[in-house]
Symmetry: C2
Subunit: 363 residues, 2 copies
């Protein structure tokens, strides 16, 4: 019998149509042709998607559970997404709400190399939340960015990541910026980890990882839905010494539930930490979404290491106590613009942020 | 003065808030930090996004035009998407509706290598629509798929593409399937072009293109939003002899208008042909969306070759006259399941489809 992934869709449709609709999704996400025209017994038994359950959500929609054969994914990240949601993503009334992956999928993709424990060890912070800030604005040259990074690091932050807008632009090429920032951060605070933002095709990504490693770095930021999950997963497996923080660019409001995509799937593919917009900031995620996303990223899940949820997006040092209360200490708090806005007082603001998080440990 | 892309967003917001909202989007899609904290004159003048225009759409929303500096994209496909919509994609009330690209962007990415004229020349069909079918179901072995492909090709079709679900699975590995299908198609009808479906990371994609070329093929199918636009564009530029058909998997219902993503952006990155769900089929695109998408794919656009719109998704031979009336002859009609469902009469159905399209030329 075929080992199956359970894909869980939320579908807006009427009670009298939902059974046929569920069957149509099962077909669309597997053989994508009239089942009546399939004569091969093996395809009918082991490849065609199976409706496992339909549940009325009493909100005008239904939860539909479909069993998709693991074999159809070829255990390749892009093809996994294709089978989970490739064509059905085109339907505005279907959300890919969740997925349950059997062991062969978990072991094939493998999850984070470092995760929460690894990043805690690097920061020397066993019992408290981690801290992070973002280096920006793009448009500055390498030297100016290195100067800002040094001022943030001097505040004692655990991590500084490039803004996801920093790529390989002419005003600040990756090969110039990354060694300069790495050196500036090291001088300002050798305990601060710096995560450069990776971009481009797999050749370029590999070249950037090499530059980062030559600059003494062991972590990086990447936006998996921009590079493609395959490029992301390849980097993770090729570089077990590098910790990867995933960024939600182009991923945040698709018809895939954020806890599944940014939490579970990014973790499955190897995200040690995953950035997402916190409730009450510049973006519209609810408290419930944020809670579910954090859980998906860090809760026990087979043999996969726990990842680090990184709520962000318009956060300020004032919100630290409330965020720690909401997320607990298995979290990395990321404040970018809220520190940069302090201008000449940036280092003091960073230190205040760091202290607020560190002192919360005692409470 | 910075050369700018004009990104056009449709935003649901109130009249009294829209000016501030437009400014926030301009900041989010460029420097992503409080502008008041930026002191560098060059960044303020040339990098921060500019609100160019706000227009009331009188449907509860506004059209907002934002000038984004070309330099921020680094002329890299992924970073282009990141700057157009990376973080703003997380807002459920913003759609990336369209974009106007200045010449440096067009020449850097380059568009299709073959396009409509190239595919017409290959099919020897100067004045009529092109035809295509899809090879499936996945789960069959290479020999069984080759047999189906031969029966479709014998009907005289211009092109046969792999279903986008065919990847590199154990039951039909790419390296076995593609040479077998290519040979079967060649024997059944040497004029039929076969497009294998490419998947995986850039290493795997390159290896698959090599296998396809060794099998005598000169065209392929790819889903750019699954592989990542960077992988897609790299393949296009590395393989000027291969024609690429783009598939909308994972791309069809994001907050990016389909005419922009599947039409304009896929064409910019080099799609010779672009598959999309036709109105009145299994998916919910409107006639207006389909019309706009076809126009974006094939209308005159600077020096870029015209691409081929490929409406699909539950089409039948009966709809050929109506589709030709709607799209004209600069189109490729794709019927997959509708032919496969004929079982033993598949070749006759394919021939009927081909004849319907070919005879329409005379009308």
């Amino acid at each position: 019998m075929a080992t199956r992934i359970i894909a869980i869709y939320h579908v807006k449709d009427s009670a009298d149509r939902i059974a046929a609709r569920a069957h149509a999704i099962a077909v669309e996400q597997s053989v994508e042709m009239p089942v009546s025209a399939i004569t091969d017994r093996g395809v009918l038994d082991d490849i065609v998607g199976k409706v496992e359950d339909i549940k009325d959500l009493h909100d005008g929609g239904f939860e539909v559970r479909i069993g998709l054969a693991v074999a159809t994914t070829g255990l390749e990240p892009g093809q996994l997404m294709n089978m989970l949601f490739g064509n059905s993503s085109i339907h505005a009334d279907i959300e890919l709400h969740d997925a349950e992956f059997p062991d062969p999928v978990l072991s094939a993709f493998g999850g984070p190399n470092h995760g929460l424990c690894g990043l805690r060890a690097r920061a020397g912070a066993q019992n408290r939340a981690l801290t992070c800030s973002a280096l920006k604005p793009q448009g500055l040259d390498a030297k100016a960015l290195a100067d800002i990074a040094a001022r943030l690091a001097a505040g004692g932050l655990d991590f500084i990541k490039d803004d996801h807008g920093l790529a390989d632009q002419s005003y600040s090429p990756f090969a110039e910026r990354v060694p300069a920032v790495a050196e500036a951060v090291r001088r300002a605070n050798p305990k601060t980890g710096y995560l450069p933002s990776l971009s481009g095709n797999l050749d370029q990504l590999r070249a950037q990882v090499k530059i980062a490693r030559q600059a003494g770095l062991n972590a990086a930021l990447i936006a998996p839905m921009i590079t493609g999950l395959a490029s992301f997963h390849t980097l993770v497996r090729e570089n077990p010494d590098i910790a990867f923080m995933a960024h939600p660019a182009l991923a945040g409001a698709s018809h895939i539930a954020p806890p599944l995509l940014l939490g579970k799937i990014f973790r499955l593919m190897g995200a040690d930490a995953t950035v997402f917009p916190n409730h009450g900031g510049r973006f519209g995620y609810s408290r419930q979404t944020c809670h579910a996303l954090a859980d998906a990223a860090r809760s026990p899940w087979a043999d996969l290491k726990a990842g680090v949820p990184v709520p962000a997006g318009g956060m300020t040092p004032e919100r630290v106590p409330e965020m720690l209360q909401f997320y607990g200490s298995d979290v990395m708090l990321l404040i970018g613009g809220g520190l940069l806005a302090a201008g000449p007082r940036m280092t003091e603001e960073a230190a205040k942020f760091q202290d607020a998080v560190a002192s919360a440990m005692v409470a």
